[in-house]
Subunit: 361 residues, 2 copies
Amino acid sequence: MGGVNRTNVGANLPALRSHNTALVLDLLRTAGGDGISRLELAERTGLTPQAVSKITGRLREEGLAAEAGRRASTGGKPRTVLRLVPEAGHAIGVHLDRDELRAVLVDLDGTVVGERCLPMDLGAGAEAVVEGVARAAEGLAESVASVLGVGVALPGPLDHVRGVLHRVTGFPEWDGFPLRDALAARLGLPVVVDKDTNAAALGLAVADEGASFAYLHLGTGLGAGLVIGGAVHRGARTGAGEFGHQVVQLDGPVCGCGNRGCIEALCLGAVRRGDVAEAARVLGVGAANLVGLLDIDLVLLGGRTVASAPEEFVGGVRAVLRERARGEEPVPVRIAPGGVRGVAEGAAQSLLAPLFGRAEG
Amino acid sequence: MGGVNRTNVGANLPALRSHNTALVLDLLRTAGGDGISRLELAERTGLTPQAVSKITGRLREEGLAAEAGRRASTGGKPRTVLRLVPEAGHAIGVHLDRDELRAVLVDLDGTVVGERCLPMDLGAGAEAVVEGVARAAEGLAESVASVLGVGVALPGPLDHVRGVLHRVTGFPEWDGFPLRDALAARLGLPVVVDKDTNAAALGLAVADEGASFAYLHLGTGLGAGLVIGGAVHRGARTGAGEFGHQVVQLDGPVCGCGNRGCIEALCLGAVRRGDVAEAARVLGVGAANLVGLLDIDLVLLGGRTVASAPEEFVGGVRAVLRERARGEEPVPVRIAPGGVRGVAEGAAQSLLAPLFGRAEG
DNA sequence: TGCACTTTGGCAACAGCGTTGCGAAAGTGG
DNA sequence: CCACTTTCGCAACGCTGTTGCCAAAGTGCA
């Protein structure tokens, strides 16, 4: 995690403070509108009530937290409920898809408070696209006092750390383009670039803290976002989640990637033939492989193709997982919530994540 | 990490102190016999030289670290080299295989300073096996002042957190046996139970700090130990690493697990037919799937079957990975160092790991 | 041989973290 | 109305890494 977590770096007092502050903010966020009391925060964090009081005191001074009524008494002074002040900060998330641009403005709570959607050809060239994204972001940012930054999600492999695109599938002219720096220079704001499936996974990870799950996205291609222990796993070269080109059929039909028997080729081939049941079965075999390998606790499905026959896909994948579980409780399969805005919302979350101690995987 | 890392728990001063201490100890360990100076420790940890001096001062008082000569001067006072005192602590690692028991005594450095190996039938019943392990451990512990604990590694699924066995493959009588508690009660020492592949992976992870790799073990079965970011990934139910029953051949030959087209069935089938090249190719396809999914940076091979034809297996797996890399630098494939003692050594490391801030994945 | 300079690393004072001790505030229940 | 419970802030505290400073221990040139 960001401050003190999972790193081989020394910790000092400021790091300790920001770690605990982020922890409290995260609990305030997940508590949502119901709020949470100081003593509950103390129990959940393991800190003493006094430490929580100091931390929440600072947060209230900064305007990030506020008192919000009180609980019923249990025989003594009733607990004061605290809540996050969502309007204290905003972030912009942009989903650059092949044919459209969708930008959302979210508050600290993750609630969408503004949205723009316009047609956009990814092949129109870097300058035009950067300008389009910048205009959309500026338009959204106008309505609020300050914006933490802009998260951009798009298909294809890229370098998440340096914010450089590799080979956006079907658009070779983007190869090597430093999207993050170009956009950051144009907007004067922090920018984070991420793969669309990872952004979607991050958005989904906000709800279930500490969970491990896979988000399988079946649209014009097939990809996955992996969340392990609450953090998006991107791998050493940000290339993790290459789910579509997992081989599940030795010497099977040739795939566009050059290999044989990739899930993507088999799955989309079946869809093209109208055999949704077979597509779901192949997807299920891949999902079962993934579940077995990583021992995750949830599989979420999304993407246009899945959306066209959600129940068949969920049912088909679920059947394979149940069969493989051999009597034990199978891993649940669900449609990913969030719909068409999921990727853009997740992209915005990549800016909010550090604030809540959810660092890079 | 243990104290402050990757957890949603609050941190206080003692946690901060133990985190930094563990960090310094870990650097002292990886420096090995060469030692490391205070200023290098400061650079590597990001702490100030003064903080490092205080920490190493405490370690020297406790006998865990010592001065070991000095570096050449660069124009001023030469740096004093510090090193870990390996004899300051020991741990015992036990590898319970189907037909033999191997126990090692290692010091803080991980060096094996004692070993016992005896035939042992896993089917001889819980009491007999526990007693055998206990005697071996006691025999090894005699020679040193104090032992941190005992790590036991064995095949088959188990609950690493609670130390309870599930279904040791081929030995149904072990189902549900609380091995950790039984052994801890018998020995009066902390005990950790782990799957053999995970223990081997942990042992290998000690060398490469922060690395992500997969250890593929091909013996009488096929399993994997996954190390992600320096920590062994066991998954929610300690079931991660089910590599052998990844399906890579839809509707392929039936496997012992009931599915069709599992890597294990295909791979061992080929070995049985004497077709090592095909076995290596199948293993390579599985490895490539894994590399693509997790974007790891290394594949290590081990186990009796691999050891019988190491170059063919490494070459075969490497060929598949190179083909899939499509021109980019392929992920390296190597034989896992450690040999027959690797699992036992890794089991011992699970006791040492917390001391060096390497916590449970 | 001596002196200027560089580098290491310990001593002491310090700021800031969560913790502890304690008491005021704000309820319930007889 | 009073005893009791529970919440929560103030103040003092212990301990962390940090900073300022200086002694120690080398090199290199005159």
